[in-house]
Amino acid sequence: MAIFRARRVLWRSFSTISSHPLRVCIVGSGPAGFYTAEKILKTHQGSQVDIIDRLPTPYGLVRSGVAPDHPETKNVINQFSRVAQNGRCSFFGNVALGSSISLVELQELYHVVVLAYGAESDRVVGIPGEDLKGVHSAREFVWWYNGHPDGRNLDPDLKNTDTAVILGQGNVALDVARILLRPTSELAITDIASHALTALEQSSIRKVYLVGRRGPVQAACTAKELREVLGIKDLYIHIKETDLKITPADEEEMKNSRIHRRIYELLSKAATAGPSQPSSGQRELHFVFFRQPDRFLESYDKKGYVSGVHLEKTGLKGIGSGKQIAIGTGQFENLSCGIVLKSIGYKSVPVDDLPFDNQKGVVPNVKGRVLSDNSGDPTSFENGLYVCGWLKRGPTGIIATNLYCAEETVASLSEDLELGVLASTTRLPKLGRDGLLQILDNRNVRVVPFSAWERIDKEEKRLGSLRNKPREKLTSREELLKVAGSE
């Protein structure tokens, strides 16, 4: 009996003080990736964490999603760069999961792989005319003004029209509206991409419509962003007072949600606050509620180009647990415009050998542990594979949401290590960083380590200082790799 117990104690201490350092690879260097890295480094003192990203630059949406006129939101980068500078952590940019290295190869090189590569695609509306020219996803438009290398060729036409329609009323929709309507002199001193600033300076857009299929009580934006857009200098705001009528079901929703209550109050105030007509030459922002897009209208003069949106009036229907959805009423109207930005949600992209739930657009998981398939069988996990961030939860939440998400995923990982679930892999040494760099070198992949990003960072800040901007972003891969230098 005593011998048996002794052996068990020996076994446990052997697996926890394994002589092989825990080697972790995190795919994606946005908030999910960095919060996960930080937590793992702190919780597992011997661990080595490598973060890879397909872009030469780190930080994900903090760099390419947060609007240029929201610099304070980007302060979290300081915390992330301290993580990257930790001796046990390495950042490797310009390394793409799939084309540079496969998931299976990463699993051979590392004890643990955490996928945190977010959502780089879009939900589709799924209506006729969606591929007309002038219909863009808000995600691409945001990439464009934020200087993302994959967004620089979007070239949206802001000169053919005075009206833009944005489908959606979340924070991304508000960001896009604000960038289109803010005086460009205010944008000129932000880190907005130069090609976007030039286009906006020449833009003829004066009216922006934010179209939501439900009512003001269901609007998805949050108070700070709404307050900001309502406060733009010399902007005429229009909200139909009849849209502000609320039902008992709406009251119930507001009673249960502080966010929705305050949004409704802000919208109500804005509806009656300003003048009832815009003054001549004044820019306009219209909140359109209870309208869902039925199809995009094609221009008669310019074949293949969008000229408006055919909208269907909606009503709300309760579907239980306090939720209400939009139902078409069969009444239609047209809204003319020269550009449409769809802001109805991002969507993740699957990769080879990775289970994926196409319906939800996420990797099937339980508390961050990747499930082997979509069957819902909660006992069949992919060994050593975890997810964090939007790839795990869907594309919602703020930067801080990833903090809790990372905590949960790392808790699952720690539990698995503690219980010996990963013993079959942690028992063996893994090549980790050295193995990864060897393979990438064989394939002539130009890896951008953190020190090289620091060179890019310095150069962008230097270029920015010449133009009274915090930085002038380099927006092509070629420029970025050139400044990064060869390693």
């Binding site: 304070e72 700070k224 930067i399 903090l403």
Partner: protein, 137 residues
């Protein structure tokens, strides 16, 4: 419209100097809600022990999730977030104190003291909308 008061403020906004305006007391009892580290703080009665009149500091005790107490002296006017970081106490503050996120916030346990504070500004309430662990009291 409900009159419920949220006894939550931003620990990066909370200014100790407001206490100076309260003639009745120089003491404050509060706790900081921090999900990950579970820190709570309390400031003992300044009149009795610890307050350094000359330097203008107040004693504050941070209590970690596992009960460890870390007593420090905090200059009047410094935010709790800054005070924690100056003393190497881990407290998440993604925006570094610019009221641009909700990773730090304070829960004031004592309603009497809470009522002595100014109402939260719109900007604070906007951030509190998104705070994890927001409660009515």
């Amino acid at each position: 419209m409900s009159r419920s008061r949220y006894t939550q403020r931003h620990c990066c906004q909370y200014q100790w100097s407001t206490l100076e305006l309260l003639p009745e007391t120089r003491a404050f009892q509060g706790s900081i809600f921090q999900k990950h580290h579970g820190f709570s703080t309390s400031a003992s009665d300044g009149a009795s022990a610890g307050a350094d009149e000359e330097k203008g500091t107040i004693p504050v005790t941070f209590v970690s999730k596992d009960g460890e107490e870390i007593p420090i002296q905090v200059p009047i006017g410094m935010s709790m977030l800054e005070a924690a970081h100056e003393n190497d106490i881990e407290l998440e503050g993604a925006c570094e104190g610019l009221l641009a996120c909700s990773t730090c916030h304070v829960i004031v346990m004592d309603m009497e003291y809470y009522n002595k504070l100014e109402d939260p500004a719109d900007e604070e309430n906007d951030m509190l909308d998104l705070a994890f662990g927001l409660t009515e009291t």
